[in-house]
Assembly symmetry: C2
Homo-oligomer: 265 residues x 2
């Protein structure tokens, strides 16, 4: 039985699904601008979805805080208490703008006193909706999820991401051993995609040097409810609003090996 | 008007489409083994498609040579003349075995005296069929293709691939400047996917240190017919059976910049 919060997330995804797909399919009419760097893109879909969500929260849960990737909502109060909704309206905007079978997600989490309680991530092109209530497991289109049982890095598929990094040289240096020791490396350009694929068992590890809460808050809960382990890059717990940036999420079995690769790079 | 050779490719893709999709959707019954390394996978689908294709060529074009990724067909005569069919039955087998919206392609080219004349690549999960006759343009599901007009690396999406490399350290060293200077990096694990996305204009560059003819012969023609440039990593022409390994394919506009990154790494 889904919580009221999870139903709210699910309803929001359902009500906005066709709008996002229509915009994706008629990309010639999109207004695309750049943010911090030329390949950091923004469209009116990001802004519209975030605005609709903030309005929906204000109506359904007056008093709840909303933080999100775009504009003013991106200013996160330090260590906010109580109920905080965290949205990335389009995670993987570059894929949304350019992509053959693109992986981009609408990501929504409810975080209470710093811990995610309910989460939903929708991937419109693939038709997948991932949902999780804390303690109740996670599901994709109703199917219960479980991480892989891959035990060794040489057989593992590890997702890394070079985007949004001020210092790509530093990341290359830290990721070098991961790239060399992992069986397969993927770089799909959407944090929600890589992390939700840990929940499905299709990917075994996900590493990013610099993620914001809206990039991972929802997908982290979905992955953890499927048995995943989630830490900072030094192995300490991954808390949504702790102000830190590095993220390592895995099936658990390859976590130590990945931490070792990062530490000894 | 498609050539007889292209129609043969198109018919073969059509006749085998449902078989591949059924096998993909019921992956629990797949027999998966490893080849040279733990993450280099092989399934009965690779073997079945290649066998069916060799049989179809023997019947329709007796005397034509067939080379392919699997088993004995992988032994390529040096610089073969005349008509040579080149097949990768499943390019991106790892994605086929593990993937949420997986990119894997069936890739077929007819090469005559060392030059690709007809090519087809099918992506069953996305429902895309790419076709090209030399000199006649390239098409995806009937839609004519054209490379992007992205002019600068800082805005470009570049696909790289770490799989199948004996020396990942050497590749990391050569790819380092590409990763640092490109706007977005993708690693989707299927050469046909990255190269066909240059034809659609979704990707601007593709780099691999070590590809075999079946990995790129078909996709190269499809990309070139959409306006792409294809060379070895030193800028020399990319010929299917020249016995060399490095591949750089781009929209043309960012080709020099990518060559510069590789040369000066």
């Amino acid at each position: 039985m889904a919580s009221r919060d999870l139903k709210f997330i699910q309803d929001f995804l359902k009500r906005n699904w066709d709008y996002v797909l229509e915009k994706y399919r008629d990309k010639s009419r999109l207004t695309v601008t750049s943010k911090s760097e030329p390949a950091d893109l923004l469209t009116e879909v990001d802004l519209t979805i975030q605005k609709r969500f903030a309005d929906a929260v204000a109506e359904a849960f007056p008093g709840d805080l909303v933080v999100g990737e775009e504009g003013d909502l991106g200013k996160i109060p330090s260590n906010p208490r109580g109920r905080v909704w965290v949205i990335d309206p389009i995670d993987g905007t570059y894929n949304f703008v350019r992509g053959m079978n693109p992986l981009f997600g609408i990501s929504i989490a409810l975080v209470v006193d710093g811990l995610a309680r309910a989460a939903g991530v929708g991937f419109p092109v693939g038709g997948q909706v991932f949902l999780a209530d804390q303690g109740e497991g996670s599901f994709c289109n109703g199917r219960p999820l479980r991480v892989s049982d891959v035990q060794h890095l040489a057989e593992a598929c590890v997702e890394i991401d070079f985007s949004g990094l001020d210092d790509k040289k530093a990341f290359l240096s830290r990721a070098s051993n991961v790239i060399r020791q992992s069986g397969q490396i993927r770089c799909q350009g959407a944090a929600t995609g890589g992390i939700c694929q840990i929940a499905t068992g299709d990917v075994d590890g996900y590493i990013h040097m610099s993620l914001c809460p809206w990039d991972y808050a929802a997908a982290q809960l979905i992955a953890e409810e499927a048995g995943a382990m989630a830490t900072r890059l030094d192995g300490s717990p991954l808390r949504v609003f702790d102000g830190r940036e590095g993220v390592l999420i895995s099936n658990g079995a390859v976590h130590e090996a990945l931490l070792g690769c990062i530490t000894h790079s």
